[in-house]
């Protein structure tokens, strides 16, 4: 499957899950979809049969609330059974919680509380360097969670320890829980902040599959004594015209009309 089709299938599946189970965060799932599609379809050295292999790449998904995007990617890569996800998502007794759960195959770390995954990724990267393992450690973060002090502890640490097997990806969709990032807690100039913390910085259009592919592949390959951050400029709700840039889709679950309109729009692309 080409990556554009992979991303399209992810969006349709995330939309369906949010609609069927009346869950939130479709906006954040759509902003990160193309990033995850490139990672899971092209970049990550992972597979269901090598899910515990020491040489696999590790991806820590810090925006655990945007679970439908990750579950969809894992389903497309064969980690998750489609029927089990459809039946299980947020239902009683299932591990398919609406913040990602490490008891689901392919999910490395349970998240949902923000500001945890980058530090864990740092420890994993440190182990990789000390044991000279070949893998790359990825952490996918939201922009809003950069308010958390624990992330800045980890950002200092990663540079000081020269964790050049670590790639952090910021899904910079510019909207957080209660308003725009600029209004709530401004992050700009974000790239300069990471540069000042001695990270290698790459900026990319987070919905340009080709550009993402090139940027993430090179970020994975480079080993120049510094951790790498990819700031992906994205659009909350990307792919559905009436969801794009709208805060309400951080919360609202698509009803029947929303669902059909969004599905038709996505299918037409």
């Amino acid at each position: 499957m080409d990556t554009a089709s992979f991303a399209k299938a992810m969006r349709l599946r995330a939309l369906e899950l949010c609609h069927l189970k009346r869950t939130s965060h479709i906006g954040g799932a759509f902003s990160v979809t193309d990033i995850l599609a490139v990672l899971y379809n092209e970049v990550l050295n992972i597979s269901p049969t090598t899910a515990r292999s020491p040489s696999r790449d590790r991806l820590f998904y810090s925006k655990g609330h945007a679970c439908t995007a990750l579950y969809s990617a894992l389903e497309l890569r064969g980690f998750i059974d489609r029927h089990m996800l459809s039946e299980g998502f947020t239902t009683d007794g299932s591990y398919f919680t609406s913040h990602v759960n490490h008891r689901v195959p392919g999910v490395e770390l349970s998240t949902g509380s923000l500001g945890h995954a980058l530090g864990v990724a740092c420890g994993t990267a440190l182990a990789g360097l000390r044991r000279r393992l070949p893998h790359t450690v990825f952490a996918v973060l939201s922009d809003g969670e950069l308010d958390e002090g624990s992330n800045w502890e980890a950002i200092l640490f990663a540079a000081h320890q020269r964790l050049d097997n670590l790639v952090a990806i910021i899904d910079y969709n510019k909207i957080q829980s209660f308003g725009s990032v600029a209004e709530v807690m401004n992050l700009d100039p974000l790239a300069d902040k990471f540069r000042a913390f001695n990270w290698t910085v790459k900026e990319v259009d987070g919905h340009d599959i080709e550009a993402l592919s090139e940027t993430l592949r090179s970020a994975k390959a480079e080993r120049f004594d510094a951790p790498k951050v990819v700031i992906a400029h994205t659009i909350k709700g990307k792919g559905v015209s009436f969801m794009e840039h709208e805060l309400v889709w951080h919360y609202q679950s698509p009803n029947k009309d929303d669902y059909e309109a969004a599905r038709n729009e996505l299918r037409a692309k």
Binding site: H102, E108, L109, S110, S113, G115, H116, L118, G119, V120, A121, C122, G123, T124, A125, L126, A127, G128, R130, R131, G149, S150, E153, A154, L156, F157, H160, Q161
Partner: protein, 305 residues
């Protein structure tokens, strides 16, 4: 105790090649021998306890047996959520080690008084809470922690504590056990942590016929051992250098109540809890002074213990 624990950890690390020690920029004059012996398995992560805990989880996921080390509230309360979610939910093989239990850093003020940690940490599923009483228990605690797989917390007093136990104590601690320190008939005094030495001294000096037990692990008590104590003694006294709310004494009362409500014991002993009366003590003072201020003694003889 801290040197005993760390030195034992260092000697075990020679044969247990998965032991990894992280510190939060504390441990001067204590950790250097470990760092020199195992530079590839030691790291000072800076004054950043949330990240220290998360890095520990990352290392543990890759197969290391990770120890985080700092003073009192910093590797514990400061990063409670990392302990709850990253360590305990993921059952990560991380041991949190805090020095300065209770008022061990007395003159340094309330920031350094470690007096709510037991209550906080014992509430979390999968966490094993250990509070050794003297250098012999600290050494046996290190042995336990190197062999234990999963989350644990060790609360260590500081330096220069007297040895209470004869050397006959087992070289490795067992969770749930009550270690008899002296026999007696009038009451069973259950003590956790380094205040044990002063309680033993007080009982001896006052001539009371009290049995004394050291309890190095909080919670998950051996049901048989606790039931035997409850059947043997009408009166029990718990002692801890920690707030009364939710601490060691509470854990004993809860366990006894569980035994009683399920019919495992036929009557509840009278339990007197000695601990800090749920207050901060903001004045400066030595550990001994602050213990007296908090009335962490058995006090005047009472017929009902």
């Amino acid at each position: 105790m801290r040197n005993t624990f760390i030195n034992k950890l260092r000697s075990l690390a020679a044969t247990h090649e998965d032991v990894f020690l992280l510190c939060g920029d504390l441990g001067y004059s204590v950790l250097e021998p470990f760092a020199e012996a195992f530079p590839n398995r030691f790291l000072n992560v800076g004054v950043a306890e949330q990240n220290m805990t998360q890095v520990a989880v990352g290392l543990a996921r890759e197969g290391y047996n990770v120890f985080t080390y700092s003073i009192g509230n910093f590797p514990t309360l400061r990063c409670m959520e990392q302990i709850r979610y990253d360590i305990c939910y993921h059952e990560a093989n991380v041991k949190v080690v805090a020095v300065g239990a209770g008022y061990a850093y007395g003159p340094q003020g309330v920031s350094h008084h470690t007096t709510e940690d037991i209550a906080m940490l014992r509430a979390i599923p999968n966490m094993t809470v250990c509070s050794p009483a003297d250098p012999i228990e600290a050494r046996a605690a290190a042995e336990f922690m190197v062999h234990h797989r999963g989350p644990a917390y060790v609360r260590i007093n500081k330096a220069g504590e007297p040895t209470v136990h004869a050397d006959a104590v087992a070289p490795i601690l067992t969770p749930g056990e009550f270690i008899k320190v002296r026999p007696g008939r009038g009451a069973a005094v259950l003590v956790t942590g380094a205040i044990l030495a002063s309680i033993v001294h007080e009982v001896r000096a006052s001539g009371r016929d009290y049995a004394i037990y050291s309890v190095p692990f909080i919670g998950n008590y051996s049901r048989n051992a606790l039931a035997t104590l409850a059947d043997t003694f009408d009166a029990m006294i718990t002692v801890e250098e920690h707030q009364l709310n939710g601490g060691f004494g509470s854990s004993v009362v809860e366990a006894l109540s569980d035994l009683y409500s399920t019919g495992r014991i036929s009557r509840m002993p009278k339990v007197r809890r000695i601990g800090i009366p749920n207050q901060f003590i903001g004045v400066s003072g030595s550990q001994e002074y602050l213990r007296r201020q908090a009335q962490l003694t058995l006090g005047a003889s009472r017929s009902d213990a």
